[in-house]
Symmetry: C2
Subunit: 228 residues, 2 copies
DNA sequence: CGGGTACTTGACAATGGTCAAGTGTGGTGG
DNA sequence: CCACCACACTTGACCATTGTCAAGTACCCG
């Protein structure tokens, strides 16, 4: 079984001893989800958390009318649903597989016991939660203080840095999902992309985006410039 | 010196031994801020975090145009600016004293050392960060998926529960600051309060709010009902 | 009592969401 | 291999929510 080896690769569990990995491997349970399966629901009792092994998962909230706001896209190696392990005890949002996905589920009680004996896991977990907080701070800033074109510009610049091919990259999600990340709807996103194309800021072909005028995008994202 | 005794009262440091409190007391530095003093600024290097001893502090972001979104109001006993201790190393927002305030500042390095030797502090810190994440989740949900009347209704119901006098309480902040918590501006807040008064949902007198129709407010906050 | 700040109210504008219709496009089955 | 269906996306017309600007009122502190 290579579960243990895999666990050793997870950033959250970097630097642990063989013995600790052994224990983690003992308490971790493999789970499989098909595309668009629900992993957990908002308000559901949480008796542990997942680490994504393969595939992708979106964490999101739903409005009364059914609109969706994506809080986070989880990629392989990242934990999710970990906050209720330490406080609240209920999942604070929905989680759904964007593709067929595999996770390792760590039940709460044995995991907490493990942490109590090892500050390193705790420190790693603190780092991850802190990172999440920082991202949420940005998300709140974007939603409350920036308009959709600014948010989109920032997203494109950020993606352009992360993906290969600094100014010519492929969206790794559907445009509708991107809208949901940016806190808007597909129609609005579509219109703004058109405007950006008209102003020669970007070029769009399906899911491929080419950044033509990075300077302009940066001005947009900071708010110096507006997308008339 | 009663610093040590005070530290023992802080929720974050509950359950520690005398010796640990001693150490914390050794590394903690007293700070004083006058009303509207800046405690730290967005992007500033963080070499530690504060615990608020007295007064109140707001944590907030600013837009390009200068609009303010409050992320959190810190009350006595709560830590703030703790995330960059574990990740990022820069404060992710502004902090400003709402009143004359006193804090204890814990420098990063000795604090981390302390944590490495004591899982209990780590667990408490994990609980606090998790709690923050949950609150941020709600904040994102409110900003992105709810309209201002819904947010206000939820806020009033929540405050009504927390404060004494379940349905007749005093706002502990200026209305302009409340607007900034709700992600809007004073003018909009003012109008919505008027509408709520007209519909006999609440009564307002200066900073005193009386909840007349809790059921109606609940329907509003959930989205079943709209504020025509 | 005076002055500044907080708050309110009105008229207006614009961002962005809703509804509706149309245009691909990819995947499946005949 | 092609046809078709479903679904993602686009585009247009409309309108609600909410932010901006401006003016006026109330209130608190000195």
């Amino acid at each position: 079984m290579d579960k243990k080896n895999y666990i050793g690769e997870i950033p959250l569990f970097k630097g642990l001893t063989e013995k600790q990995l052994e224990k983690l491997s003992d308490i971790g349970l493999n789970c499989a989800f098909k595309k668009s399966d629900t992993v957990f629901s908002d308000g559901e009792d949480a008796d542990g958390f997942h680490v994504l092994q393969s595939g992708r998962v979106k964490i999101f909230k739903l409005s009364y009318e059914g609109r969706e706001q994506i809080l986070h896209i989880i990629n392989a190696g990242e934990p999710f649903g970990e906050a209720p392990v330490f406080a609240g005890e209920k999942f604070p949002a929905y989680a759904e597989a964007l593709e067929d996905s595999g996770t390792i589920f760590f039940p709460r009680a044995p995991f907490i016991e493990l942490i109590n004996n090892d500050p390193l896991i705790a420190m790693n977990m603190l780092a991850i939660l802190s990172q999440r907080l920082k991202r949420f701070t940005q998300l709140v800033e974007n939603l409350s203080l920036k308009e959709v074109p600014q948010r989109l510009a920032a997203y494109l610049l950020y993606s352009g840095e992360v993906e290969e091919g600094h100014d010519n990259f492929e969206l790794n999600i559907a445009k509708g999902q991107l809208a949901s990340i940016l806190g808007t709807i597909p129609e609005t996103l579509s219109r703004i992309l058109s405007k950006m194309v008209n102003q020669d800021l970007i070029r769009v072909q399906g899911r491929t985006i080419k950044l033509i005028n990075k300077k302009g995008l940066e001005e947009l994202s900071s708010g110096e410039r507006v997308l008339a």
